[in-house]
């Protein structure tokens, strides 16, 4: 058993991360999960959230939107729809997205299709803002 994990985060646009790491915490659809070396084979869909990986004592964060994660043989492969580092996030844009989503959510029935869409948009915006704040 290797004493380290290999983390690969790929999006349709690029390979965002490919590095040896010590620990990964990722947003699964059914909640956050942590991976340490020696983890059992695991396959999950990802929700909207923050991916954290630790190299030594250093923690790194990524804003993650949807996708999958596979853990096998100490290799963590994350296929996300989007993955952004804190410094890459456009905070003004995320802020605008949050306001827009909040406006749409107020005064709508909860069974509306657009409601779900606005809710997802709001979650993305909040998560981006949260991760962007990490840079400070």
């Amino acid at each position: 058993m290797a004493d380290r994990l290999t983390l690969e985060v790929a999006t349709p646009m690029r390979l965002a991360v490919s590095a040896p790491v010590d620990e990964v915490v990722a947003p699964g659809v059914e909640g956050y999960f942590g991976v340490l070396p020696g983890h059992a084979p695991f396959l999950t869909t990802l929700g909207i959230g923050e991916l954290t990986y630790r190299v030594g004592r250093e923690e790194h964060h990524l804003a993650l939107v949807g996708g999958f994660a596979e853990v096998r043989n100490d290799k963590v492969i994350v296929l996300a729809d989007a993955a952004e580092r804190p410094e890459e996030i456009d905070r003004a844009r995320a802020e605008r997205a949050r306001e827009r989503a909040e406006r749409r959510l107020s005064g709508r029935a909860a069974d509306d299709v657009d409601f779900a869409r606005a809710q997802a948009a709001l979650m993305r915006a909040l998560m981006r803002l949260h991760v962007a704040a990490r840079v400070l």
Partner: protein
């Protein structure tokens, strides 16, 4: 005979055309490089996706019947073809190659069975003029091609397929072989070919813990797999378009150069002739004067 002025005017006109073709070539070359980089950047994602899908389908297909509506196989004649062309021409045979293949494919099946999803203005204009059924069209996005466009396209045909409106979906686009070579290829998207969905060559499926269940993950993975495939095809087509335009404009620039050469020779000849004629006139005139003086 063309006068000197006419020839000069033509030379100038060819020169300005050459300037345009050379500029277009340079622009295409720059864009091509970017497009190629994007293809390379997208490869890891697509590769992992295919690998995951293989493992997963192998793991879930043990039961009877299809594990997911998108894996369902129907023996039916209704085909949907996604035709990918460029918005603009001046790219050699880039668009016409794909369109010709599309027309061939359509002719081979009976008309009401084929529906089209057309990408790119060139293909849209042509196929609409011919009166084909166009279920959906996407135009004018090439300059800002993003994954979202692929999603929109893929979601369309998946919807048609799941609703049982079509039995097969094919993707027809220009494959980017090299800068100089693009080849129209037709790939079956749905039902997902056996070779992609598991089949041999797949390692024994690892005993995964699934969260949520395998079927739910598959339901998430399949649409993404299709979107990724469409995205890759769109990017290849875009790179191919630039490659084709670069090659075409290079040839055009060369032709213009040749033409300028020929015209320059013509111009010089005409100028020489004119000078010779003038000289003869002068000499003739002088001769006549001399003879007049002697007489």
């Amino acid at each position: 005979m063309a006068t000197l002025r006419d020839i000069r005017r033509r030379i100038r006109s060819v020169e300005s055309t050459q300037k345009i073709t050379r500029a277009m070539k340079l622009v295409a070359a720059a864009k091509l490089r970017r497009a190629q980089e994007r293809i390379v950047a997208a490869r890891p994602y697509a590769g992992k996706m295919a690998e995951l899908l293989g493992n997963l389908v192998a793991g879930t297909e043990t039961g009877d019947g299809a594990a997911h509506p998108l894996l369902e196989r129907r023996e039916g004649p209704r085909r949907q073809i996604v035709v990918v062309t460029a918005d603009r021409g001046l790219a050699g045979a880039f668009n016409s190659n794909v369109i010709r293949r599309a027309v061939e494919l359509i002719r081979r099946s009976s008309a009401p069975d084929v529906t089209l999803i057309v990408v790119g203005r060139k293909g849209r204009d042509f196929l609409r003029r011919r009166g084909h059924t166009i279920a959906h069209e996407m135009i004018g996005f090439w300059d800002r091609l993003a994954y979202g466009h692929a999603s929109e396209l893929a979601d369309r045909f998946m919807q048609h397929y799941v609703a049982g409106e079509v039995d097969e979906v094919h993707l027809l686009y220009n494959e980017f072989r090299s800068v100089a070579v693009q080849r129209p290829v037709c790939e079956q998207l749905l039902p997902i070919p056996r070779s992609e969905a598991g089949g041999e060559g797949t390692a024994a499926p690892a005993d995964y813990l699934y969260e949520p269940g395998p079927a739910a993950i598959l339901g998430d993975l399949l649409p993404r797999h299709l979107r990724t495939q469409v995205f890759r095809a769109l990017m290849e087509s875009l790179a191919g378009e630039y490659g084709a335009r670069m090659t075409a404009m290079e040839a055009a620039t060369k032709n213009a150069k040749e033409m300028i050469g020929v015209l320059s020779i013509q111009y010089n000849k005409a100028r020489q002739e004119k000078i010779t004629k003038e000289l003869l006139d002068i000499v003739g005139g002088a001769e006549a004067l001399k003879q007049g003086a002697e007489a």
